[in-house]
Structures are given as C-alpha cells and as structure tokens.
C-alpha cells in the first residue's frame, strides 16, 4: 500500500522535459500510472468501509487524486452490489455513516476541551519539543493526582464525613495550619487519624478498614500498571527502534523544528545547528589515542568527583537524620503541645531538606565542569544519576527514621505525625520551586543582561525541573497511606506551578541551544518515575501495611496487629458464607502461599529468556537482510550494464531516430557503475549526474518499448 502513491511522483517529478531526454513519451508513463491506480482501487474495494476511508486518508497524494480514487472505489462497490440494495442495507449504510460522523465530531470536541492545549502549542512553537516535554510530564502527573484524589475522596473521605457529621474539632483554625499541616488539620479527615472504623457502633454498615486498604491498593496497582505500560511503549519507540550508535548527522538534520515562526529564533537555531554539526564532525575525526598518563589522570579526576558527590550526599543524609532525632526529642520534652513556636519549629526539617535539594545539585554541576567528558550526552546522564542518588538517599533516610523511630517514640498517632511531615515537605518544596525559579531564571537574566553580558540569557533547565517533579510525586505517593487528601495539595501545587513556570519561561529564558534527544530523555524520565520513585513508595507502603503495628488510639485499624490483618479477618468471616468459597480459596492458596509466587517468578524468568533469544535471532536477521539489500543493489547494477551492452549492439539502426536516447543512456550507465563501486572517490562525476540515474523502471520500460518497436519492424 505504501508504494502505490509514490509511483506517480517518482515518475513525473521533472515534468515533460526530463522525460523527453530519456526518450519516453508521456503516454507510456501515464499508462503505467493508470494500471497502478486500478490495482490500488481493486485493493481498496476489498476492505471494509472504515478501513477503506483510513487507507485513503493515509495515501500521500494531493486531495484531488484522493477524491478521484474514492469515487472510483465507491463506483466499483456500488456496481458490485448491483440491484441488491434493499431497504435494510440502505438503512444500515445510513446508520453507520451517521455513527461515523458522530464519532468524528466527538473526537474533535474532545480535542477542544483538553486542558492547556493552546498554551502548550505556544510553548512548543517558541521553545521546541524538549521544553514542551517538561510541561506534558507535569500534565501527566496532574492526571495521576486527580485520579488519586477522586478515588480517595469518593471511597474514603465522603463516608467518613457522612459518619462523623456533627462532631467538630476542638482546636481553632489559625493561618499557620496551611503551612505546618498540624493543629486544626490534625483532627480532620486530612490525615489517617481522622478516620474511624464505624461498623462496631451505630447502624452505619460501611467497613472503613477494608475501604481504606483496598482503595489505596487499587490505586497503587493502577498507577503501577499504567507506568509500566507507558515506560515499555516509550522504550520501544525511542530506544529499540532508534539507532543508538553514531547516527548523529541524520538525527541533527531531521530535528529541524518546522513549527518555529520567530525570525530570530530561526536564525539562532541555524547557528546552533551549524555549531553542533561542526562539533559532531570534530568528534568523529578525533582519535581516541590518549597517552596512558592522560587517561590515568582522567580516571583519577572522575573517581575524585564521584567520591566527593557521594560524600556530599552522605553528609546531608547524616545532618537530616540528626535533625529528625532532635525533633523527636523536642516532642518528648515539650510542655504544651499546640504552642505556636513549637509548631513553627517543625518547619525546620523540611526547610533543611529542600535547601539541600536545591544547593547540592548546583555543587554537582560545578563539579561536572571540572571533569571532562568526551560525550555530552554521557555528561547529562551522570548529572541526572547523581541528583537522583542524592534525592533518593535523603528520602530513604527519612523513611528509615519514620519506620524505625517514629512508630515507637511518638505518644500520639504516629501515622498522622508522618502525614504531617509529608505535608510540610510538599508545601516547602513548592516554595523552594518558586524560589529556584526566581533565582535561577529571573535573577540570572537580570545579571546576564545588565551586569555581566557574557553569561547571557539562561536556558530552561529541563533536567533539574523534571527531577524536582519526580521527587514531589514520590512524596505524594508515600503520603497516600498516611494522608489520603495529600493528592489534593499536590494537584493545587502542580496547577499553580504550571502557570508560574510558563510565565518565568516566557519572560526569562531563551530556546535551548543544543537540540537534545528529547524523546530519549522522556523515556528516561518515565523510567525514573517508575524506579526508584514509584517502586520505593510502593515498598514503603507495603512494608507499613504488612509489618508495622497501627497505633492504638486513632485510625481505622486500631486494635489490630498489622493493617493486613483486616483482610485476613474479613476472609475468615467470608469463609462461613459458602457462595464465596472460591474467593477464600484464592486468598488462602494463591495470595498467602509462597509456592505460588515462586512458580510465577520461575515462569516469568523462562519467558524472559525465551524472548531474549528471539531478540538475538532478530538482530542477526537484520544484519543478513542488510547484506541482501547491498547484494541486490549490485545485481541491479550488473543487469543494467548487461542491458546497456545489449542495447548498444541492437540500437545502431535506430540511431537516427533516438539521438538523445542511447548517448544519454551510455552516460547514465557509466555513472551508474561508478556509483556501484563506491561513492568515496574524489573524481566523482557530480557535474553530469543525470536526474534519472537510478530509476531502473525507466530503463526497463524503455527497453520494453524498444523491444516492441523491434517486433513491429520485423
């Protein structure tokens, strides 16, 4: 199907003048095109209406030709049906037509109401696709949080509100709660402590324990599945199918952004592309033969910088751990809880964490300037790796502190305490994002334009911002168990962040200089969101649910040994009812037994090995097919050479008629055989390259026409 539409343009691009040169008349070419069209119409008639319409849409022809083909197909179809057009067939045609129109209308309406559609087009037009990828990532995370909030609100919060309508908290609302999350919020449905399992008293039959557990579990499973799906699809599209080796020349040429309309941006882009092309050329020509002492020195520098960055990360983790211990001690010795000064002092920990997250990556980028990486892409990977390592180690220290120390040392609801910690971390992180934007972009622009013009206008730092988003999302995912309404805060935060970043981008930043591999970086960000962000959050929540004792004085799981016990108790209750014995059987033999998971893991390992072998086989097949194509090219050149010699022998009586033909032909074949030996020769006859040098079809048709004329002669 793909080849059909190209034939016409392949044959008639140069117009009549070029055709006359080669001795073919327009008639011959048009006959060929007509027969191709007939074949195409025959193929289209066999398809169903919807496939047919889609196939016609996908043809790379101009609209008139497409209409032509569609009319031919319709005529052919109706002539086939002939007189069998009964009333019912007519009706069904009408219905399917109106349904299709409805579907098209719905999809275009859906396009119109998409969130931020216009803004993102603007950003993509001015700054390119890599900056746009940050904003689409933000929108995607917003969707995750919206679903989480709706699910939690619907299944957990609303029943709780209905149940406790009438009671009101004892503490007054002061403005500080919005930042510290404690005080008034402590006794509302914001945190775990605000939920009670009410099945014991009154006739309220909603089992809050099961609802709480299953809602969160279902949401996390859904998240995991959608992340794995996006990651795999993105990986297949951007890593497997694309060429990871050299391939930089075509990639740079094909990365020209057609949607740029700003004259200055276009000029700048051309300059950047030229610089990048020159750099990539010099990279390829550079030899890698450095002396041994140089390489040792490079290795030493790399090792030093890695040790320094690991040391920085470890140092910040230790500082945060001691601060956490100090906070716990303060709670133990505190005289009156609810003191304003004490509540404000709880903000110290999030402040220090966010400060480390802001300052240490700057130190990392300074360090990377000292190192000398040959490959700029590798440099970006190293920076991202170090930042992720820093953020995840800080988070793991905090989780360790919560799981080990907080559960035993906090007098009240420890889950609400952890929820409040997370709330404060999210809020302070938001403020630091604003500050980072202010200092990193606004002030740098002022400095770059007024004080030190050599620095220039800053670019939008995509990597730092995306890692910031991933960090905040990790906090939210951890916090779902301890504070079911935390996704609402994250939603509001992302919403505001979009507009803030957009304004800052438009006023302060310039389009990126290097056309980076936006698609591959997108895959890496999704992969980072899955592991370690989602997997870490999931494992923490799973550990909490499976192993930790819920607090005795608050929450829906009071009195149980572990949270998961709620499910076991429920299963024991259900075992009495005989209709659900299959569910009980599944629970006891599949979920509780280790043998089942062991067998499952074994089966997956075997499948992975099997698919890996298939991949290896396909790689070899690709190599063989490439060799086959080269050989067929050589065969084609050989056969054309033979055709030329044959025609030279038989063309003498026709010399008078086709003055241009054979001479032109000879030149064609001469350069053809030159090309078949390789294009690297210096004396390549570029000046007399004929336009149809590689159009084998032309020569074959010419040969056929001459053979026909020969037949007529004799």
């Amino acid at each position: 199907m793909r080849r059909r539409g190209t034939l016409k343009t392949g044959l008639l691009p140069g117009g009549n003048v070029a055709l006359e040169k080669i001795g073919l008349t327009e008639e011959d070419v048009r006959d060929e095109i007509m027969s191709e069209e007939q074949d195409l119409v025959k193929e289209l008639v066999t398809m169903s209406t919807r496939e047919c319409i889609q196939a016609i849409r996908d043809l790379p022809m101009c609209m008139e030709d497409k209409k032509n083909i569609r009319n031919q197909v319709l005529a052919s179809k109706s002539s086939k049906k002939g007189f069998l057009l009964t009333c019912s067939a007519d009706c069904s045609e009408q219905i399917s037509l109106s349904l299709r129109r409805c579907g098209v209308g719905l999809s275009s309406a859906r396009q119109a109401v998409r969130l931020w559609q216009g803004t993102m087009k603007e950003i993509g037009g001015r700054f390119g696709t890599s900056v746009l990828s940050y904003f689409s990532f933000l929108k995607w995370l917003l969707m995750f949080n919206t679903i989480s909030f709706l699910v939690n609100f619907g299944f957990i919060t609303i029943p709780q509100l209905v149940q406790t309508s009438g009671r009101s908290p004892d503490v007054r609302f002061t403005g500080l709660e919005l930042i510290t999350g404690a005080g008034y919020f402590n006794q509302t449905v914001m945190y775990y402590g605000g939920y009670i399992n009410g099945t014991k008293d009154s006739d309220f039959k909603y089992n809050m324990q099961l609802a709480y557990f299953f809602t969160i579990a279902a949401y996390l499973v859904l998240c995991g599945v959608s992340l794995i799906y996006s990651m795999a699809r993105s990986f297949r599209r951007n890593f497997v199918l694309s060429d990871l080796s050299s391939g930089s020349a075509w990639r740079l040429l094909c990365s020209w952004d057609f949607s740029m309309v700003n004259e200055r941006a276009v000029r700048q882009r051309k300059n950047n592309l030229r610089v990048q092309l020159k750099e990539s050329l010099s990279e390829m020509m550079q030899t890698n033969f450095l002396p041994v002492s140089e390489r040792m020195k490079q290795l030493g520098i790399h090792l030093c910088t890695w040790v320094v960055s690991a040391g920085l990360a470890a140092g910040s983790c230790a500082a945060i751990y001691y601060l956490c211990q100090y906070n716990l001690q303060q709670i133990k010795v505190s005289q009156n809880p609810g003191n304003l000064k004490e509540e404000a002092s709880t903000l110290l920990l999030p402040f220090v964490v966010s400060l480390f997250n802001l300052v240490i990556p700057l130190l990392y980028s300074l360090l990377s300037k000292v190192e000398n990486y040959s490959n700029p892409r590798f440099q970006i990977y190293v920076i991202i790796l170090r930042n992720v390592f820093l953020k995840m180690s800080i988070l793991s220290i905090l989780c360790f502190h919560w799981v080990n120390n907080v559960t035993t040392n906090v007098p009240m609801c420890w889950e609400s305490y952890v929820g409040q910690d997370l709330y404060r971390l999210v809020i302070v992180n938001f403020f630091f994002s604003i500050f980072g934007s202010f200092f990193g972009e606004f002030l740098r622009r002022i400095i770059g334009t007024r004080c030190m013009p050599s620095i220039g206008i800053p670019e939008f730092d995509i990597a730092t911002n995306v890692l910031d988003l991933i960090y905040a999302q990790t906090l939210t995912w951890i916090g779902i168990y301890f504070s079911p309404l935390l996704p609402l805060i994250q939603m509001i935060k992302l919403f505001l962040l979009f507009y803030l970043k957009k304004v800052s981008l438009n006023r302060n930043c310039q389009p990126p200089r290097r056309s980076g591999r936006a698609a591959q970086m997108q895959t890496i960000y999704i992969a980072l969101l899955f592991f370690p962000s989602f997997v870490g959050a999931l494992s923490l929540v799973a550990y909490t649910v499976w192993c930790l004792t819920p607090s005795d004085s608050c929450g829906p799981f009071q009195g149980l040994n572990t949270t998961f016990e709620a499910v076991s108790l429920w299963m024991e209750d259900t075992a009495i009812i005989s209709e659900f014995s299959w569910a009980v059987w599944i629970y006891s033999h599949m979920i509780k037994s280790e043998l089942f998971f062991f067998l499952l893991a074994l089966i997956f390992l075997v499948l992975i090995y099997f698919f890996w072998q298939i991949t290896q086989g396909r790689k070899m097949l690709i190599i063989l097919l490439k060799e086959q194509i080269i050989n067929e090219g050589k065969d084609k050149a050989f056969l054309l050479e033979k055709l030329r010699t044959f025609q030279n022998l038989s063309l003498v009586p026709y010399h008078a008629e086709n003055v241009h033909g054979p001479q032109y032909f000879e030149r064609t074949y001469q350069t053809e055989s030159d090309y078949s030996e390789g294009y690297q020769r210096g004396a390549c006859p570029e000046e007399d390259t004929p336009p149809f040098a590689s159009s084998a079809l032309m020569q074959a048709m010419m040969a056929r026409r001459q053979a026909e004329e020969e037949d007529e002669e004799y």
Binding site: T6, T9, G10, P13, G14, G15, D58, P60, C62, M63, E64, G124, T129, R237, N238, L241, S242, D243, S246, G247, A249, W250, R251, L253, C254, S255, W256, D257, F258, V261, V266, R267, K270, N271, R274, L277, K278, L281, M284, S515, R517, A518, A519, Q520, I629, I630, E632, G633, K636, A637, Y675, Y679, C684, E686, T689, P691, F692, A693, S694, S695
Partner: protein, 144 residues
Amino acid sequence: MGTSASQLPKDLLSEYQSNPFKERICLVFSTSDNKDGSLTFEDFLDLLSAFSDSATSDIKSHYAFRIFDFDDDGTLDRKDLERLVNCLTGDTDETRLTSDEMKQLINNILEESDIDKDGTVNLSEFQHVISRSPDFVSSFKIVL
C-alpha cells in the same frame, strides 16, 4: 481572502513564514500546472494535513523526502544533501560549512542511510532512517 477557487501565490505565503524550506514546501504541495508554487485552497488543506499532529509517520516522511529533494528526481543525491545542509545552517559565506566539512558530513550521512550503496538515498532508505529518529515526527509540525 478569496473563494475556494482562488490561488495563493508563493511570495504572499513566504511573508508569513521564516521557514528555510518555504519555497520547497510551496512547490511540493502545489498542483497548479505552471509550477509556480501557487496554492489553491485544497493544496493548503493538504499542506496543513501533512504537517498536523494526526498525520502518520509515513505521510510525513514521504512529504519530507519530496521537500528535501531539491532537483525533483526522486532521490537524494550529494547535491540535494549539500543544499539541504546549506539551507539548515545558513547560506551566506560566513555561515556555510567548509567544503571539507561538507564532504565529510555528506559521507557520514550516506554511510548511515544508503543501504544499497548506490550513492543516493531513495524514498525507502529515507523512510527507514526517519523511523529510527523518534524526534522527527514531533518536529515535522506546523501549528497555526
């Protein structure tokens, strides 16, 4: 602006675009008989459809090939590639690549994409190279 039968001449359109390929785009999408690059309304629709989000990678690579084929012979030979690079990096004397760099670059390009080693890139080879650059589909777009 005119009826659906009116024609948009090439120079009127080029005022609205700072695209380096503006002339080639007009020529490729024009179906007028005198090959002056003027577009009817239907041609304009074709143009927007090919550059839209919902066009398949096949259609985009087909039209990109025709746009890059400066001499309209159905293949991208060395001259086409040279003109392409000059279009993208600037055509004045200061901004052009040196002839050595150009030769090296075009050799690299042909090495990557010329599978049957005939010295030119035909449509299938071009589409194969494009399918391996995932950024192409997102950058071959014109938004109004």
